[in-house]
């Protein structure tokens, strides 16, 4: 039985409504996505929400293909389709309290987000990523989880690749798309995290007890973990998202 759950914490000092990551998943279909809106860009929170919701709803199977660049092209096509649904002036968005010159400058610069999405299906996990949202695939209880797309804490920086609401950067986007494919056996646990938590997890990836704890953590424990890490300055003060999927060891039994 496939189980999925997601936890999130807004930046310290901000409210839940200011959380600028996005997360969506369906344990029925196996599709999942997380995104991290770039705070310095206009409407990036809404862009992150739209990307994750659309990915899980659209189920762009071709975008997960690894071979021959087909997945890369299909991912770009899916992004282009998602853009047509993105309207910064939508009444669904909170009304702007910015002066018009800031609003128009922000729209010219576009909305941006890092993105990680994929599917667990038929004993396999496939994922596509742009930027520094990371997936950690724990295949056994003792081995270090596989990490994707970043594999080392030193790879986290301040300027990750981003999915833009504007077409202008599509050439660079195409070069930034990464794919992952691996068997998903019973007992495997997969985590996806936005960059602040992903960086911390990457530094502690060799500690099996860390992954055991995360495999069982609940909402309250996740909130406490984030607060402790921030208080100890082990994790930067950023919006944090953790998605977890687990495949029971035997049918009908939770991990």
């Amino acid at each position: 039985m496939l189980q999925m759950v997601a936890y999130w914490e807004p930046k310290e000092g901000t409210s839940t409504s200011e959380w600028e990551d996005g997360a969506a998943f369906s344990a029925q279909t196996g599709w999942f996505a997380i995104a991290d809106g770039a705070s310095t860009a206009n409407s990036s929170r809404e862009w992150a929400y739209l990307l994750t919701d659309s990915f899980v709803h659209d189920q762009p199977t071709a975008a997960l293909e690894v071979e021959d660049g087909a997945g890369r092209r299909a991912f770009l096509e899916w992004v282009r389709a998602a853009r047509t649904r993105f309207d910064p002036h939508s009444p669904e968005f909170p009304p702007s309290r910015m002066p018009s010159w800031v609003q128009s400058a922000g729209e010219r610069l576009g909305a941006h987000a890092t993105f990680l999405g994929g599917r667990i299906n038929d004993g396999e996990i496939k994922a596509v990523a742009v930027g520094d949202c990371c997936l950690f695939h724990a295949m056994t209880e003792q081995a270090r989880p596989r990490s994707f797309p970043l594999t080392d804490p030193g790879q986290f920086g301040t300027a990750p690749a981003l999915v833009s609401s504007l077409e202008a950067g599509d050439g660079r986007l195409a070069e930034s798309v990464r794919h992952y494919r691996a068997p998903m056996a019973r007992g495997n646990v997969v985590f996806a995290a936005s960059d602040a938590l992903a960086e911390w997890l990457s530094r502690g990836a060799d500690r099996p007890e860390l992954w055991h704890a995360l495999a069982r953590i609940g909402h309250e424990g996740f909130s406490e973990l984030c607060q402790d890490l921030r208080a100890n300055r082990e994790m930067k003060n950023d919006d944090v998202t953790l998605w977890r999927a687990s495949l029971a060891r035997s049918p009908g039994v939770a991990v």
Partner: protein
């Protein structure tokens, strides 16, 4: 030290000291613009960019308090219009109240025009009362620092084309640099604008080789760049070595823009 991230509860403070003396009407580095025009353009662009960095969601958040002090015929705050007389202003309020809107070319794409809010106009009149300006900066900043003890330390950027006409500013500048928060002492940076197209001296870490006592004085007045600013400068391929000071002598327009970019970088502004 110099590591406190900027957020709404820990805003940053940047105060610009702007030379408005008569000599600022001279052409800048052999170009067509006057130094006063080039300086006001650079400051307006920087404020615009700082505002855009502070937009989050549907609002501009008060990650900075900014001030503009002019010195020339008189010494005092130079915000105009609805902000007239104000010394340090939350950046969301600054965003709301430019003097007017002008147009500017898009960086990297000069054929595209974009809005450029104007908060400061070129002025060139009177002497160079830099010492009085530094003194006023202290009285403005000390109150802010005392009420924002956990914030990144204040940054004061002094931009001038000549020597002070009201005495040696070094001792009052030393006092200014003693203002502190728990994250470090105030950062005072200086840029000297040149009439002629001379080779700029950028971010020196020693007074050796500086051309005259005036340049040495500005060097002595200048704080060292923070480690993060050093990293930013290196990322821009600027020549910075250990102990580099926030000081550029004989700057042209490009060096002035670079200087303002490097000298206003704090460690982190509430997430990317």
């Amino acid at each position: 030290m110099y590591s406190q991230p900027i957020d709404r509860h820990h805003p940053g403070c940047i105060l610009f000291l702007v030379d408005q003396s008569a000599s600022m009407q001279d052409r800048f580095a052999g170009g067509l613009q006057s130094k006063a025009t080039a300086l006001s353009l650079a400051v307006n662009r920087l404020i615009r960019n700082l505002v855009l960095q502070c937009q989050r969601g549907e609002e501009v958040r008060d990650y900075y308090h900014l001030g503009l002090v002019g010195y020339g015929k008189s010494v005092g705050p130079v915000f105009g219009g609805d902000l007239a007389g104000q010394q340090l202003v939350p950046i969301s309020v600054i965003a709301d109240y430019p003097l007017r809107m002008a147009t500017d070319s898009l960086p990297g794409n000069p054929e595209v025009s974009v809005d450029l809010p104007v908060w400061i106009d070129p002025v060139a009149d009177g002497g160079t009362p830099m010492t009085a300006a530094v003194n006023l900066a202290g009285s403005i900043i000390v109150e802010w620092a005392n009420s924002h003890l956990d914030s990144f330390p204040p940054i004061v950027v002094n931009i001038s084309d000549g020597e002070a006409t009201d005495g040696d500013p070094r001792s009052i500048a030393a006092q200014l640099r003693e203002i502190r928060t728990t994250d470090g002492t105030l950062l005072l940076f200086n840029v000297n604008l040149s009439d002629q197209a001379l080779t700029p001296i950028e971010y020196p870490n020693s007074p050796v080789g500086l051309p005259n006592p005036y340049a040495i004085g500005l060097f002595e007045m200048s704080s060292e760049l923070t480690p993060y600013m050093m990293a930013v400068a290196r990322g821009m391929d600027l020549p910075v070595e250990s102990g580099a000071r926030g000081f550029v002598f004989n700057a042209d327009a490009a060096k002035l823009s670079e200087f303002l970019d490097v000298g206003t970088r704090v460690s982190q502004v509430a997430d990317r």
